[in-house]
Assembly symmetry: C2
Homo-oligomer: 305 residues x 2
C-alpha cells in the first residue's frame, strides 16, 4: 500500500503499528525513530523498523509519516521534519487530542504535503516498544479529523490504511472529536487518577488495606491510572476546555448524587443505577467490550460449576 512508512515514536502505539503494518503487509519499508536512545536500541533489537538517528532521517522519502509520541512533542518534531517531507506524502498522527495538534503542526507543513490528523481509540495501560502487538487496533475505531478542503484521495488512502490495520474509521471535525474524547476517555482517566490519589493519601485507611481489598471495584480504576504519565499530562495540557466542560457536568451530577446519598433518597439512587446498565449492554452488543463477567478475571468459571 505504501513504499515507505515512517513512525516517529516507538512506544505502545508506534510498535503496535509496526507489528500491524508487517502483519497486514501495508508497506515495503518501515522507518522508525524515537527520542529515547534506549527505545531506539530496543526497537532495533525487536526489528520493529529501520531505526534512523533523527526524526528527519526517518521521515525522508516516506509516503506516510505517523507521529506516535506524546502530543506535547509534536511541535518540535514537525519543525524538525517539515522541510524533509516528500511532496505528496501524508503526515498523520495518533494523538488523543486534535485541535491542539492542528495548531502545533500545521505551520510546519510544506505545500503539497497532506496533513491528516488521526486518533486510533485503542491502547493498554502499558507503554514502551515491548508493549506493542499487531491486534491492538482490531475492531477499534480510528477517527480522522481532516481540515476543511483536505485532499479527498489522501483521506481515502489513510482510511484504507487504518482499515488495513483492522480498524473501523470515522471522519469528524477536530473540535467535536476533542469533546467526545473528553467524555469517553480524558475525564474517565482524570477521575481514575484522582481516586487512586485519594486512596493513597487517606490517613485512616492504610495503603496495604487499599491494595488487599481492591477487588471491590477500586482495582479497575488502578489499571487506567497506570497509563503513561507523560502521554496523559500532554492530553490534559492540550484539551483543557473540553475536559473542563465535561468535568463541570460530572461535578454537577456528582453533587446531586452526593445529596441523594446524604438524604437517603433510595429512589434516585435506584433510578440512576438502573439507567447506567443499558449503556453497558450496548457497548458489549456492538463488540466494543467483552461480555465475559469481571473482564474474564475468573477464567475457570466453566470448569467450576
Amino acid at each position: 500500500m505504501f513504499d515507505r512508512v515512517a513512525l516517529i515514536g516507538l512506544g505502545l502505539i508506534g510498535s503496535s503499528l509496526a507489528h500491524a503494518i508487517k502483519r497486514h503487509r501495508l508497506a515495503e519499508t518501515i522507518a522508525g525513530y524515537d527520542s529515547s536512545e534506549a527505545v531506539r536500541r530496543r526497537a532495533s533489537e525487536l526489528e520493529l523498523a529501520a531505526v534512523a538517528s533523527s526524526a528527519a532521517d526517518a521521515a525522508k522519502g516516506a509516503d506516510l509519516v505517523i507521529l506516535c509520541s506524546p502530543v506535547g512533542s509534536y511541535k518540535e518534531i514537525a519543525a524538525a521534519i517539515g522541510a524533509h517531507l516528500k511532496p505528496g506524502a501524508i503526515l498523520s498522527d495518533v494523538g488523543s487530542v486534535k485541535s491542539a495538534v492542528i495548531r502545533d503542526v500545521t505551520p510546519f507543513i510544506p505545500e503539497g504535503v497532506h496533513f491528516l490528523p488521526a486518533h486510533p481509540i485503542a491502547g493498554t495501560e502499558e507503554s514502551g516498544p515491548d508493549a506493542g502487538f499487531a491486534s491492538l487496533f482490531d475492531h477499534r475505531w480510528c477517527i480522522i479529523t481532516p481540515a476543511p478542503g483536505a485532499d479527498e484521495a489522501a483521506v481515502a488512502k489513510l482510511k484504507q490504511f487504518w482499515e488495513g490495520c483492522g480498524s473501523q474509521v470515522e471522519v469528524m471535525d477536530a473540535g467535536h472529536h476533542d469533546l467526545v474524547l473528553a467524555m469517553t476517555s480524558h475525564v474517565p482517566h482524570l477521575i481514575a487518577y484522582n481516586i487512586v490519589g485519594t486512596a493513597h493519601d487517606l490517613e485512616k485507611v492504610t495503603e496495604t488495606e487499599v491494595i488487599k481489598f481492591s477487588a471491590g471495584g477500586f482495582r479497575d480504576f488502578t489499571r487506567i491510572a497506570a497509563s503513561d504519565p507523560i502521554m496523559w499530562r500532554d492530553v490534559f495540557l492540550n484539551n483543557r476546555e473540553a475536559v473542563l466542560e465535561v468535568l463541570g457536568r460530572f461535578n454537577e451530577d456528582l453533587s446531586q448524587l452526593q445529596r441523594a446519598v446524604r438524604d437517603g433518597n433510595g429512589q434516585a439512587l435506584f433510578e440512576l443505577f438502573t439507567r447506567t446498565r443499558a449503556i453497558r449492554r450496548s457497548i458489549v452488543e456492538i463488540g466494543q467490550d467483552s461480555a465475559t463477567p469481571n473482564f474474564g478475571r475468573d477464567q475457570n468459571k466453566e470448569d467450576d460449576q
Copy 2:
C-alpha cells in the same frame, strides 16, 4: 464441616456459595431460600440447594445460616428467622456494609446463637442464580467483623469455612470495615455510576458516540456501573457517613486536579500520574488483579507479534 448450611438469597453470591460449598464439600446439606419465586424455581432447576418456601424453613436446623440478599432486606429476614435459629448455630452474612447490618440484625438474635457479620470482597457485574460459580472467592479476601466478646470458637469455625471456599480471612472492627470499603468499593462504584450518567445526559455528545468510542477508558466504568442496582442502592443507604467522608476527600482532590488542568500545571499532573502507577503494581504483585494488559481483552497478543 457443617451438617446443614442455609443460604438466604440465591443471587450471584448465594449461588456462588452453593457451588463453592459443594466443590469443597463444606456441608452435608445446603438449604436455600430467595424472596423471588422465579429465583427459587431457577435455583431448584440448577440444583443449587434444597429450596424452602420460607426463610424460616430454610434456616431451621441449620448450623450455619448466611444472609446473601441485599442488606436492606436483612432486618425483615432476621425478624422472620430469629426465633427458628438452632442454639449454637452461626448466623452470618455477605453484606458490603457492616455497622448497619449489626444494627438491623442484632435485636433478633436469640441467646446461644452466634451472629458473626462477614463480607467476601468478591463479585462480578452480573447478578442472579445463573451468575454464580465456585471459584468466585478464590484468592479473594473475606472480612469478618465480630462484636467484642464474640465466641472465639465460632469465629474460628467461620474463618475455616471461608478458607474452605478459597478465601483469605481478616478480622476487623465493623466501623473500620465500612470506611475501608467506602474507599475501595463504594465510592469507586458511585463515581462509575455518576460518570456513566453524565455521558448519558450530555447533549453535545450522542449516546452512539459514547458507545462507539468507549474503548478510550469509559468502558471500564460501564462494567462497574452495570452492577445490581438494588444491592448498591442499599449499600449507599446503609454506609452514608463513611461514603460521604471519602467522597469529601475525593472532591477536594478533584478540585485541586481541576485547578491543575485549568492552570496548565504539567508538573502537578505528571507527579500524580506517576504516583498512581505504584499502587497498581502492588495490587498485581499480591495477586489481587491480573498482570495481563487491558484486562486481557487483546487475548491473541502472543500469536500476533
